[in-house]
């Protein structure tokens, strides 16, 4: 009853305020309203198509790459450098191979703040360890290679990342249907770089394609 008595322009202002405040409300093709914090990806072409202009902070990103070693790590090197310079931690959880320390140093990553966590029993411990790491405020970036992750765990990790203000990058071989990742990217190898397709983006639209020279 109270709302009906308000002036129409006041109502419109309240609505705008609400839309400004809550990034979860979907607004169609109006990306300029996206206010969630991001970190520039370091690739100008990619920043142009990502909502907000960078990797979403406090959220999960799923990167779908059919094979290892096509450039999925080089894509993230600028981000790792940026977070390392801020003094935050980089954690590699259950990587498929050994990250090679000399190559990391060559790429300018501070290995003193890098940790590699091996998980023997993925089914039992992986979700637990990821949640713990994502929730910690000192963590900057968690790179993880889970083979399977149930939807409940996805949601828990999404909440943990939001709470800790961390970035979680989860790599998978094939796009799984029901993930709650804020951003889902598909990678394909090309002769001189990678083809990157945005499969899903919170606060934007999927479908954009970028070719990155790495």
């Amino acid at each position: 009853m109270i709302e009906t008595r308000r002036a129409p322009e006041e109502k419109a202002n309240a609505l705008d305020a609400l839309l400004d405040r809550d990034p979860r409300i979907w607004r169609g093709r109006r990306p300029e309203y996206w206010r969630a914090p991001v970190i520039p990806s370091g690739h100008a072409a990619l920043d142009a198509v990502l909502p907000g202009g960078g990797w979403p902070v406090g959220a999960l990103t799923e990167i779908v790459a059919p094979v290892h070693g096509i450039g999925e790590l080089r894509l993230l090197l600028p981000l790792m450098r940026c977070l390392g310079a801020d003094g935050r931690r980089l954690i590699w959880v259950a990587p498929p191979f050994e990250p090679h320390a000399p190559a990391l140093v060559q790429a300018g990553i501070e290995i003193g703040r890098t940790l590699v966590l091996a998980v023997a029993d993925r089914r039992r411990d992986l979700g637990w360890a990821l949640e713990l790491l994502l929730r910690h405020p000192e963590t900057g970036l968690v790179l993880a290679w889970p083979k399977v992750l149930p939807p409940v765990v996805w949601r828990r990790l999404q909440l943990a990342a939001g709470e800790g203000g961390t970035l979680g990058m989860l790599f998978s071989r094939a796009a799984s249907g029901g993930t709650t990742a804020a951003l889902r990217l598909g990678l394909e190898a090309r002769e001189d770089g990678i083809d990157l397709r945005i499969l899903k983006a919170r606060g934007g639209f999927g479908g954009a394609r970028v070719r990155l020279k790495l």
């Binding site: 059919p66 094979v67 290892h68 070693g69 096509i70 450039g71 999925e72 790590l73 080089r74 894509l75 090197l77 003094g87 931690r89 990587p95 498929p96 191979f97 050994e98 990250p99 090679h100 320390a101 000399p102 190559a103 990391l104 140093v105 060559q106 790429a107 290995i111 003193g112 890098t114 940790l115 590699v116 966590l117 091996a118 998980v119 023997a120 411990d125 637990w128 360890a129 713990l132 790491l133 910690h136 405020p137 000192e138 394909e188 190898a189 090309r190 002769e191 001189d192 770089g193 990678i194 790495l214």
Partner: protein
């Protein structure tokens, strides 16, 4: 009541107890000298020829050596290069003073059963004040034998000496077993034959004295004191007076480090963690109170769950950063206990501390946000390690080695050792044989040839290659042959 009446207390003497220490019995010192302490502290294999080296006067010299090395002619004081020349299979290790101190402290704790007064002030030696213990242990000779046995049982070679002054006891012990000397008056005649070099004098000064014809301590005692002091300084006089006790040398007393041990019986035997964990939390709270009283932190603890008829379950907890919060200990122990299958119901709990350290306040910075203090981070790593095992966490580090499989397996960061040639971000744990069908090998090659000296020689020509899916590979084969290719790493993209 009847019992209490029957016990009569001994009547105390009427005169007050005497207060001046000089009136008490003169002290008697038992010195236990460990000639091979440097060797024993490192725990090296004894049958092999081993030499412990230390840097002295700008050169690396042998400090002590194992019997096998002695048999080959290695003497202490010679340079390590000489020792290697005499004995080709010599195992050389650096001296570790910390380990020696720890070993000596452990021995001192063991010797506290003979006397409460132990000092570690002389090098590689325990000094025990044993005048009050002679009656209990059956005389000086029996006491000395018992103390020697205790040290030998702990696996140490020991020499002993008994004398009324610490310096004389130490001198006797160093120069090999002699008869115990019980009175100050007898010291000069027993020690007179010992060479001057034994009296811990400066090496140069001892040389000067020997050149002047003074060979034994007796010769020194015969010299006029003022003339000796004028010519050689006061040091030789001080040493002599310390030996005879006319110039007492103050010693520091050794105190055993505090330890915590507490036990709790359960009201009934139970296997359920929920039932006995509150009791464990209680023990941990006691432990925290104990640590706070002493302003100490613990670097770990051990709990023991005792079962009827079965061996107890022991859980040992180590911490990355020593702490004293019961809440943190409890969280770590819960992680561990939840994944242990108990062999039976628990009857009682015991908790004991690992080594305690004095508490040091973490250095804080006015401008750094509180979140990045690193303390919470270590707690997080402790939790991860408690659940995933101690090997699960690794920090990438660099070692100065050309072999790629070793270059990333260092223990500390040394950034100057980075190779100039591009390295792949992914390294395979071990090279995998690769069939070259569908793979394009790019020109440009890096030869790595190293390690012929340590039993893992590597001679490889590394190339970059692209496979059918677009992944960029790091492959190698042995140079000069048309041998098979091996895959060793994955690049992200053209580096």
């Amino acid at each position: 009541m009847a019992l209490a009446c029957a016990c009569t207390f001994p009547v105390l003497p009427a005169e007050p107890p005497c207060e001046t220490p000089a009136a008490g019995p003169a002290p008697l010192w038992l010195a236990l000298h460990f000639p091979d302490l440097a060797l024993e502290a490192l725990g090296l294999p004894v049958p092999k020829p081993v030499a412990i080296s230390e840097a002295r006067a700008g050169r690396v010299r042998v400090h002590s050596r194992s019997p096998a090395a002695v048999a080959r002619g290695v003497a202490s004081g010679m340079t390590l290069a000489e020792a290697h020349a005499l004995c080709p299979g010599l195992v050389a290790a650096d001296r570790d003073p910390d380990a020696e101190r720890r070993t000596l402290a452990r021995l001192a704790e063991r010797c506290l059963e003979f006397t409460p007064w132990v000092s570690l002030d002389f090098e590689a030696t325990l000094l025990l004040e044993v005048r009050g213990s002679l009656g209990l242990f059956g005389g000086p000779v029996a006491l000395m034998e018992k103390a020697r046995h205790a040290c030998v049982a702990a696996g140490h070679k020991v020499r002993s000496g008994l004398a009324p002054t610490p310096a004389a006891a130490w001198l006797l012990a160093r120069c090999g077993a002699a008869e115990p000397v019980l009175e100050v008056g007898a010291l000069r005649s027993v020690l007179g034959d010992l060479p001057i070099g034994a009296a811990s004098l400066d090496e140069k000064l001892a040389g000067r004295l020997v050149r002047a014809g003074l060979r034994g301590l007796r010769d020194l005692w015969r010299m006029p004191r003022d003339g000796l002091a004028r010519r050689y300084g006061r040091e030789p006089l001080w040493r002599l007076d310390e030996i005879t006790g006319s110039r007492p040398r103050p010693l520091r007393q050794f105190h055993a480090p505090p330890r915590f041990h507490a036990e709790h019986e359960l009201a009934m035997e139970t296997e359920a963690l929920e039932h006995f964990f509150p009791l464990l939390e209680m023990l941990l709270a006691e432990f925290e109170a104990f640590l706070r009283r002493r302003d100490a932190v613990a670097s770990g603890l051990e709990i023991e769950l005792r079962h009827p008829r079965v061996a107890p379950t022991r859980v040992r907890l180590g911490l990355r950063r020593p702490g004293r919060k019961a809440r943190h200990f409890a969280a770590l122990l819960r992680e561990r206990l939840e994944r242990i299958a108990l062999p039976g119901p628990v009857r009682s709990l015991a908790l004991q501390s690992a080594s305690l350290q004095p508490f040091a306040l973490p250095a804080t910075d006015l401008f750094t946000p509180a979140a990045s203090s690193g303390e919470d981070w270590d707690e997080l790593l402790d939790r991860l390690r408690a659940r995933l095992g101690p090997e699960a966490l690794r920090q990438p580090a660099i070692r100065a080695d050309h072999r790629p499989e070793r270059a990333g397996a260092g223990t500390g960061p040394g950034e100057n050792a980075v190779p100039r040639a591009p390295r792949p971000l992914w390294l395979l744990p071990r090279p995998r044989p690769l069939s070259v069908a569908g793979i394009r090998i790019l020109p440009g090659c890096e030869r790595i040839e190293s390690g012929w000296w340590d039993g893992a020689p590597v001679r490889r020509d590394y190339h970059m290659a692209v496979d059918g899916t677009g992944a960029r590979l790091w492959v190698y084969r042995e140079p000069g042959t048309a041998g098979s290719w091996h895959l060793h790493g994955l690049f992200g993209r053209a580096p």
